[in-house]
């Protein structure tokens, strides 16, 4: 009897803090705050900060535990372990890069902590049947297929050349791009991997120019995109279209290089001018607060944090119930319709619709899918 009384008292004591602050949830957030990928990581940080503000307005008080993985998988892993065991978070949002997210995903099931990946593209992350791993953004295969679909509505390109960084993101994106190109009958004429950060791509680009491809498909981080386009112009490489798969081709810095970035197509997870609820408003608030344009990473991180915190709050911070909540729920916010489903080889993957944008007169314009179009695409490509 005595034991039961003590047991009950203990149970009440443990439950009480949870009951008195019903809407307080502890969420972990792993991001690349320092290191080479830090400029993009900053977008995720800001997106999450805005999400926390909005959640507070809705009465959900988020106790955010931030961890910096510096872009290294081993640091990401130890951050996740700390969040799972020491901080006892209800769920984790992050990490940013593919390599980090892939490493962390393998531990989510082991610790039974729901993990929501906001913006990492590597397909594998949601292909291994993990029960606790969810992904908001579209995986790497869509980066290339949506671009090719867009171009096919404009003309009849026959050949394609690939130029890409030899990173996880570059290699996995081009691998699926090749499969899709084969399916739609595009002939591959060149496959050129390059070392990230190299100063001179002229010889590679000259070789490609000699092969005269209709499409040039590039996967690059950050400033390599600018170096590649500058040297393409210098050499006079003029395909019918330049296709840039996300990342370096969707940044504000790239946009500012008006001489070389004009008319380049790029795939993106998000733009501010789609009619997804709150997208425009998010863009305005972000710009007012941080004096920079948000990239798609910011929007992904914002929405991921909203989804994770709402679900966790609804389930009182219980990890298993939160997982079930993520699996069964559906949302409609700044990233459009979100639902984590199993399809093809993927599990718990949001079948997100990617967009194609083209730079026209120093602006990113959404040009595909047609229902989100703000401007007509310009094809074929010509130098300014």
């Amino acid at each position: 009897m005595m034991k039961r009384v003590i047991g009950m008292t203990l149970a009440v004591m443990l439950a009480l803090p949870g009951m008195s602050m019903a809407a307080k949830v502890k969420i972990g957030f792993i991001n690349t705050i320092t290191g080479a990928e830090a400029p993009i990581g900053e977008n995720l940080t800001n997106g999450v900060a805005l999400a926390v503000e909005d959640l507070k307005k809705k009465g959900i008080d988020v106790d955010l535990v931030k961890e910096d993985d510096t872009g290294k998988p081993e640091k990401s892993l130890s951050a996740f372990e700390k969040l799972a065991t020491r901080d006892n978070v209800a769920g984790v949002v992050g990490p940013y890069t593919s390599a980090c997210a892939n490493a962390v995903a393998s531990r989510a099931d082991q610790y039974k902590v729901p993990l929501l990946v906001p913006a990492a593209a590597k397909e594998e992350i949601t292909q291994k049947g993990y029960k606790y791993v969810f992904r908001l953004n579209a995986p790497a295969d869509v980066y290339s297929s949506v671009l090719m679909d867009a171009v096919l509505t404009l003309g009849k390109p026959k050949t394609i050349a690939y130029v890409y960084a030899n990173t996880d993101f570059g290699i996995s994106t081009v691998k699926t791009a090749k499969e899709y190109a084969k399916k739609i009958g595009l002939k591959e004429v060149a496959d050129e991997k390059y070392q990230k950060g190299a100063p001179d791509f002229r010889s590679t680009l000259t070789k490609i120019k000699a092969l005269n491809p209709d499409l040039v498909f590039m996967v690059s981080y950050e400033v390599d995109a600018i170096t590649l386009m500058r040297q393409s112009k210098e050499i006079g490489l003029t395909p019918k279209a330049f296709l840039g798969a996300g990342a370096g081709f969707t940044t504000d810095q790239f946009l500012k290089q008006k001489d070389v970035s004009n008319l380049v197509f790029s795939s993106t997870q998000w733009t501010e001018d789609v009619n997804w609820p709150g997208a425009k408003d998010f863009y305005k608030r972000y710009k007012a607060k941080y004096h920079k344009e948000p990239t798609y990473h910011a929007a992904c991180a914002y929405e991921a944090m909203i989804i994770m915190a709402e679900t966790a709050a609804k389930n009182g911070g219980n990890r298993d119930k939160t997982r079930a909540g993520l699996k069964s729920g559906s949302w409609n916010g700044i990233m459009g319709q979100v639902k984590f489903v199993d399809y093809g080889k993927f599990n718990n993957q949001n079948n997100h619709e990617m967009l194609v944008q083209q730079i026209q007169n120093g602006q990113y314009e959404t040009v595909y899918p047609t229902k989100y179009k703000t401007r007509a695409p310009i094809y074929p490509f010509r130098w300014k």
Partner: protein, 290 residues
């Protein structure tokens, strides 16, 4: 590979090789005079790049004109580093010298990160992607300009070392430090001069590459490695050797990327590097030393 593609990559290789040569020359002078391998060389170059960037964005000084300001400033920076730090370890164990210069490099690059953040800086000039046409071949305007400047600077430096009294004193110090001292040459002053010239060369290379490349605090490490390969390939301490080494590396990278594949070009560079060291351990134009 057609002839025009080959010529195109050969010319690009020679032009970019010119800038590599300038980095290598700085390193080789420092080694020649002091027997110190400067592992902070790339980071000194990075300082030159930031200097050029801010001269351009704040005062609108063209990068190629700004070397007139960059060269003396970087010379003073180098002389200061030599006087305060390097001077203390001349003649000590090589590992101490390596630790000191690596440490200096880390301090320089991390201070730059504190001051300028890790954001990439891009210098956009009207000619950043400009080119001339020569038949089917297009030649980069900024690279051509930097190549010409490199040639002029190298020629002046060569004349200075060969013909002037100070130059001869520097060479004497490089040949035999003790004998030079006995002949009345102020060797510690010569060391300061040499380190200053080395830093100025690195800074100039940074300035010349800025219009076509980008700038961030860790940019130096890749160039330190490249400078090291160039210097050893050409023969440590030889200016003509470093020039040759730089141009060879430029050509191998460029032509290798076309002939085989761009992810194999570093393999080619290091294969040639090893081959030269096997056949001629002192480098192409180096003399064996005791």
């Amino acid at each position: 590979m057609t002839l025009s593609v080959f010529l195109q990559s050969l010319i690009s290789g020679i032009l970019i090789g010119g800038v590599y040569a300038l980095i290598g020359i700085g390193l080789t002078i420092i080694f020649g005079v002091m027997r110190v391998i400067n592992f902070a060389h790339g980071d000194i170059m990075m300082v030159g790049m930031y200097l050029t960037f801010y001269l351009f964005t704040l005062f609108h000084v063209d990068p190629f004109v700004s070397i007139v300001i960059t060269i003396p400033l970087m010379f003073l920076f180098g002389a200061f580093l030599q006087k305060v730090f390097i001077n203390r370890i001349i003649g000590t164990l090589p590992q101490n010298q390596i630790l000191l210069t690596i440490g200096l490099g880390l301090i320089i690059s991390n201070s730059a990160m504190l001051a300028f953040t890790s954001d990439y800086k891009i210098l956009t000039t009207s000619y950043s992607s400009g080119s001339f046409k020569l038949g089917e071949i297009s030649i980069s305007q900024p690279l051509t300009a930097s190549f010409i400047i490199t040639v002029v600077i190298t020629a002046i430096l060569y004349w200075f070392l060969m013909k002037t009294d100070t130059g001869q004193a520097i060479r004497a110090t490089a040949q035999d430090r003790e004998a030079a001292q006995l002949m009345g040459i102020n060797v510690s002053r010569m060391s300061m001069l040499a380190f200053g010239i080395g830093a100025a060369m690195a800074g100039t290379a940074g300035a010349l590459i800025s219009p076509t490349y980008y700038i961030f605090p860790q940019v130096g490490s890749a160039f330190t490695l490249k400078a090291f390969v160039i210097t050893v390939l050409g023969g440590m301490g030889s200016i003509v050797g470093a020039t040759l080494g730089g141009i060879i590396i430029g050509i191998v990278e460029s032509v290798g990327a076309v002939a085989i594949s761009s992810d194999w070009k570093d393999v080619l560079v290091f294969a040639i590097f090893l081959l030269v060291l096997l056949v001629k351990p002192s480098g192409l134009l180096g003399r064996s030393r005791m």
